[in-house]
Symmetry: C2
Subunit: 149 residues, 2 copies
DNA sequence: TTAGATGCAAAGACTTTGCGCACTT
DNA sequence: AAGTGCGCAAAGTCTTTGCATCTAA
């Protein structure tokens, strides 16, 4: 099996391959994404990057993430109300977001196989597994609801 | 079968029942939502409202939609990148959004029955049918892709 | 009458963009 | 050396909020 862009080097190879330049900022963003477990908001990426490279500006992070997205290195999704979250496309699955506590879990794409076929058949709609984001209530908040404060 | 809040009168009853006041702005927003097929952005709601009541300000529309949401009259979802879309909670299902052309279709909640059970069983996660939004590629754009310009 | 609702305008959060210098190639 | 990428700051969306006024009950 071939893991797509899950290492910093692979990411930077993609960048180079696209005739884009490999800069310190891009390398650092790549490192942050690789190290991250799960998804990060742009702000979180920026903070993590600035932790190592304080001189990297937020707008650069936006631009790099945009470039990475064009190169299919990352994917972004709007989970809750506001800020978008990014993560490596190689590590993608579905997102379950709890509306109560905002916790999110990532689950294997396999869960969407049946739905995917159904939607394709019924509507000719091809589900994008990289963007599947489901809202609901997590187990913890469900039980918390049964036993109110 | 009892249709929840699908008529203007029912909506306004809910408002009254919550000890909130029934105003012209609220009535007009209700009318717009009832007449609307599918979902509307706040901007679209505002324009439709101002078509009849030019003096209603956008901030009021925001406030009214917020109130309606608390009263479970409407539901809002973030489909694409930016603006949120609202619609009556009685008319809710899943949303399929095409990433290419941004078209969205609404589909019956029944499509999510299996997934719902699966997620509940596997993760104790209770899917919120009002907020299910799936991204992908619609039938039209899929065939368009096979035959590029 | 009187407390909630509205309009207006300013503030906020998130994201994009213009410009000149710096750095990669 | 040449041109892309960057930092900075300003501008742009979308949404929220403060306050004085108005209005539904």
């Amino acid at each position: 099996m071939t893991k797509p862009e899950n290492s910093v080097d692979e990411i930077l190879s993609s960048v180079r391959g696209a005739a884009k330049r490999v800069t310190i900022a891009k390398r650092t963003v790549a490192e942050v994404l690789v190290n991250a477990r799960g998804h990060l908001t742009v702000d979180e990426v920026t903070i993590a990057v600035q932790d190592r490279r304080p001189d990297v500006s937020p707008s650069t992070v936006y631009r790099i993430l945009e470039e990475f997205e064009e190169l299919k290195i990352v994917v972004h999704t709007h989970l809750g109300q506001s800020a978008a979250v990014y993560h490596l496309s190689g590590a993608v699955h579905g997102h379950l977001t709890c509306e109560q506590c905002n916790a999110t879990v990532q689950i294997p794409a396999a869960h969407f196989d049946a739905l995917s076929k159904d939607l394709q058949k019924s509507y000719g709609f091809m589900l994008d597994r990289h963007h599947v984001a489901i809202s609901g209530t997590c187990a913890h908040c469900q039980s918390a609801r049964r036993r109110p404060t």
